[in-house]
């Protein structure tokens, strides 16, 4: 009997200990978040000023200047990537949603997930070989193509899931009215899935906006204004990278400012989308 209660007590103690440990895990994962955001706010907020937002970089080692061209360059490249990638991704997503059971579709679905896992640096090399060398130069366009290559598999899968959530009766209803399939899909099914697809697209765009590795060998960077997409163009993440590894205190300050701005952009896109359009089902 005593042995029994002793065992019970031990079991309860283990229970409490282990449950407490899971709580410790939760705390430990939140700590880096607090630290990162704390540093970003402390170091970055004081450094974002008008010059930072409106000026181009100063020559190496000089104090002052800003990342205005990088900010615009990032917006330009991300916008172009969305223009290139989203139609493909939404089309492919609709195809997958419509094609359960097909072996080809399963293969496409699987490759989309696998493509999603391709390291971004490899995507950069791919686009360097595919676009930069044949066209004879680095360009914002090459950068956008690299970013679009990353965007497509992400958005394809969310689109598929969102379209799939639309009740089948809506498609059938449209077809019963004698509408061609493409009009039913574009006019009835897609609008019904709109919120989720937009959220998925914005979350994907937020992710590519922060990417550095695919731009290293494609967009390259620029210390001046360059809005022509056929030329090398500055990007916020590239600028943060080169300033972070530099020895200059003023560049470090600007790297923090750039990082804070980048994270604000990323969070606005991904959280804003969720707040406005609702949350897409999480993908496994």
């Amino acid at each position: 009997m005593t042995a029994h209660t002793f065992r019970d007590r031990r079991r309860r103690a283990v229970n409490r200990l282990m449950l407490a440990l899971t709580g410790v895990c939760a705390v430990l994962t939140v700590v880096p978040l607090v630290l990162i955001f704390g540093y970003l706010l402390r170091e970055g907020a004081s450094s974002i000023d008008l010059a930072f937002l409106t000026h181009t970089p100063k020559p190496t080692g000089e104090t002052g200047g800003g990342m205005a061209n990088g900010i615009v360059g990032t917006l330009e490249m991300v916008g172009l990537a969305a223009l290139i990638g989203l139609p493909v991704a939404i089309g492919a997503g609709m195809y997958l949603a419509e094609s359960t059971g097909s072996r080809f579709a399963t293969a496409v679905r699987f490759t989309a997930d696998v493509l999603n896992g391709v390291p971004s640096i490899v995507t950069g090399i791919f686009v360097y070989l595919l676009v930069v060398v044949p066209t004879g130069g680095f360009s914002a366009l090459a950068g956008s193509i690299a970013l679009a290559t990353m965007l497509v598999p992400m958005v394809t899968r969310t689109t598929e899931e969102m379209v799939r959530l639309v009740p089948r009766e809506m498609l059938e209803g449209g077809l019963a009215l004698g509408l061609p399939r493409w009009r039913t899909m574009l006019g009835i099914v897609l609008p019904a899935a709109r919120g989720g697809i937009i959220t998925g697209a914005l979350v994907g765009i937020a992710r590519i906006a922060g990417e550095t590795a695919p731009l290293l060998f494609t967009a390259l960077g620029n210390q001046f204004w360059q809005l022509d997409p056929r030329h090398p163009t500055a990007a916020l993440p590239l600028q943060i990278f080169s300033y972070a590894i530099s020895p200059y205190d003023d560049w470090h300050r600007q790297a923090w400012a750039g990082a804070l701005l980048l994270i604000l952009l990323v969070l606005t896109l991904s959280l804003g989308a969720r707040l406005v359009f609702g949350r897409p089902e999480r993908r496994a």
Binding site: V132, Q223, S246
Partner: protein
């Protein structure tokens, strides 16, 4: 990809961009980080004066050479001259080297308790960078620096992780001063370092040295001075310990005589002269002589002419030594091959 197909794609891509005559208003260049403080200053000034925007990305001399070979930039920059094999591998034809300025590679350190004043010989530097000298209070360092309170602390070597002309100059110096270095490691833009941390660009190495107590690295003088990093005095061929300065860099070039018609790919490390700093070098802009796009060729010629004359005035302010007059004359002759 065949060259025709390649040219066609390129043409289709850039068709609307090329002005039919005159000078290009935008050029793209990439390469050495060694002269980057001066070059970015030049390009910034040049743009204010002429409106021509020259985008320069300091990705390392190796990157400058590679991108010129692949014709993905309009011109490149390097501080290790291209080898004959590298020139032969270029897709766009013959290449000229135009020296722009002289610089010094410093040995910079971050040793707690030693704010300044370290003296080193080529042998000791070699021992540090090949990993055989591991502690700051090693007898070999103490012997050269009597009275300096050297700590018992591990030496952390910082070197370049990218293809670098600065590495070329530094290893060229070590090879020229030490047979064992030449045999074991050799001279190159990227060598097989036995120890140390790799940094990207001169700024990356300077960043590591600044961030890491116990570190030692090699960077161009401007990077050390801009960051107030201490630099070592180094024993030159004449046996005197010389600090890297504008004067000692100029002295290193003073002993050089170039024959007429030289292609200007010359090394001046470990030069003669009592006051000559031993790890000094020219740095070059590299360009094709037969560029298809004449507007760009003219724009490059215009810029380099400006750099060889007016541009030299900016050099001293950033601790680079202006070119000797004789070298400027030779460089102008070579430049005509680009302009034609």
């Amino acid at each position: 990809m065949t060259s025709t197909k390649r040219a066609l794609t390129a043409a289709a891509f850039a068709a609307a961009l090329l002005p039919s005559a005159g000078r290009a208003q935008a050029l793209n260049a990439a390469g050495a980080t060694f002269p980057a403080p001066l070059y970015t200053k030049w390009f910034s000034e040049y743009r204010t004066r002429t409106g021509v925007a020259i985008n320069y990305q300091a990705i390392g001399s190796g990157g400058g050479i590679k991108n010129l070979q692949e014709m993905t930039v309009d011109f490149g920059a390097t501080d290790g001259p291209m080898s004959d094999a590298e020139m032969a591998a270029a897709h766009g034809g013959p290449i000229v080297h135009i020296p722009t300025v002289l610089g010094a590679v410093t040995v910079t350190y971050n040793v707690p308790g030693v704010p300044t004043g370290l003296k080193l010989t080529p042998e000791v530097i070699g021992a540090i960078f090949n990993g055989t000298l591991r502690s700051w209070d090693d007898a070999r360092i103490r012997q050269l620096n009597p009275g300096v309170a050297l700590p018992h602390r591990g030496v952390i070597v910082a070197h370049r992780s990218d293809g670098s002309g600065t590495t070329y100059i530094f290893t060229d110096f070590l090879s020229s001063a030490s047979l064992s270095w030449r045999r074991a490691i050799g001279t190159g833009k990227a060598v097989s370092w036995p120890v140390g941390l790799g940094g990207r660009g001169n700024e990356g190495v300077a960043g590591i040295v600044k961030q890491t107590p116990g570190a030692i690295g090699y960077v161009e003088l401007a990077y050390a001075n801009q960051n107030r990093l201490p630099v070592a005095a180094i024993r030159n061929r004449a046996g005197s310990f010389v600090m890297p300065t504008l004067a000692s860099t100029t002295a290193a070039a003073a002993g050089v005589t170039l024959p007429a018609g030289s292609d200007l790919r010359v090394s001046i490390v470990n030069g003669p002269g009592a006051q000559a700093y031993p790890i000094a070098s020219f740095t070059w802009i590299i360009a094709y002589t037969n560029m298809r796009d004449r507007a760009k060729a003219r724009a490059i010629g215009d810029f380099l002419t400006w750099a060889l004359h007016d541009g030299q005035a900016y050099a001293a302010g950033l601790d680079y030594a202006p070119l000797p007059a004789g070298v400027v004359r030779l460089a102008e002759q070579r430049l005509r091959m680009v302009q034609r």
